[in-house]
Symmetry: C2
Subunit: 217 residues, 2 copies
């Protein structure tokens, strides 16, 4: 997703380099000196643009926030067709995967860079409210049936699912293919929604089929 910002070419290149390094090597293993070295500029030159690694991380988080807000706004601007919900969840996971360094080291980063804490909390609230909206419109159209506050509980669980899926997969030893990690995450998210399906005969069968086609395709 393209984001327009009044940034110099050098700043943009620093951010792209930093993001790749943080994602691939792990946030604790990368310093601003490493970023400068990969770019073949001096640490002083890097410092002229960004005052250290945490300033770069704050800027990357701002990019992540902007992109995720755009994604989350989609179903509010225009209700999703049933078959687009799968894609919607997929795109959210892809955004998270693009900035995965943050999710692998969330607790430490939020403690070290306190400015991120309220931003991330607001983003989580937005995610949860968006899931509530999506579930609500699927309920209104008669596709889902919720009792009591099942929709609220489910929207909270989906939010938690998205932010912890990547570190959970790592803990479980599934360090492999990113495509299948995201795919399994979407599948797991959808399988939390399908039990509330009210109308169709067996949406789960179709979901499973899609999943397997995609895995082998």
């Amino acid at each position: 997703m393209a984001v327009q910002k009044p940034r110099s070419k050098t700043k943009e290149k620093i951010l792209r380099t930093a993001l790749a390094l943080l994602n691939n090597e792990g946030e604790p293993n990368i310093s601003s000196v490493d970023i400068a070295a990969v770019m073949e500029i001096s640490p002083g030159n890097l410092y002229y643009h960004y005052k250290g690694k945490d300033t770069i991380i704050e800027e990357l988080f701002a990019d992540f926030e902007e992109e995720l807000r755009l994604v989350l706004a989609a179903p509010i601007n225009k209700p999703l067709a049933i078959e687009d919900n799968w894609i919607f969840l997929y795109i959210i996971f892809e955004e998270i995967y693009d900035f995965r360094f943050f999710f692998f080291n969330m607790t430490a980063l939020l403690e070290r860079i306190p400015a991120l804490q309220p931003k991330f909390t607001r983003l989580l609230s937005l995610m949860q409210r968006t899931f509530m909206d999506v579930l609500g419109s699927l309920e209104e159209s008669g596709h889902l049936v919720f009792r009591a506050d099942e929709d609220r509980i489910l929207s909270e669980r989906l939010t938690a699912h998205f932010i912890y899926w990547l570190p959970y997969m790592q803990l479980r030893g599934s360090g492999g293919n990113p495509k299948s990690i995201i795919h399994e995450g979407v599948y797991s998210a959808l399988s939390q929604i399908t039990p509330y399906w009210g109308t169709d005969a067996d949406p789960y069968a179709a979901l499973l089929k899609d999943f397997k086609d995609e895995q082998t395709g």
Copy 2:
């Protein structure tokens, strides 16, 4: 849950003091000097028993592992009555809460103390298999109905739910009453199981009622 180990009284007192400090003040904010100070012993005396904070954390993790294994063995030794599943989930959450410092800082601790990584991975596998067993026996008795691999996916989700619930509640700003945080976590776990209920008229109504009685009781 009482754990018998051939430990000196001093060692036991060090572990209890450390656990309370780590849980209440947060792991990154506590040093071995702090632990010695609270116990009113010299850092040298503490060092005689445990060679630094991470050795204490390893020993505490061993306690956690032992206690959780005992809890998880319960439904394997003797299948749970339906009404005991709630209590089973509650006890798992209580164990996690008793060692919450670990879950609030999991990524950092697993990186800093590599010996914990395989132990924790094995514990997660055991948790997931136990949930599979419990779900399987509820399916055999005709209470739950699963299609395809819904039971596997659900057991993975429950495992992730348990290990990330406390940090998730903190991120969402629910820092309050521990009793209600655990209670909401159990409720959220049970609400993931009830949609697969096959027989009873409305187990969700009973679940909700229990939840509210407990909250106001």
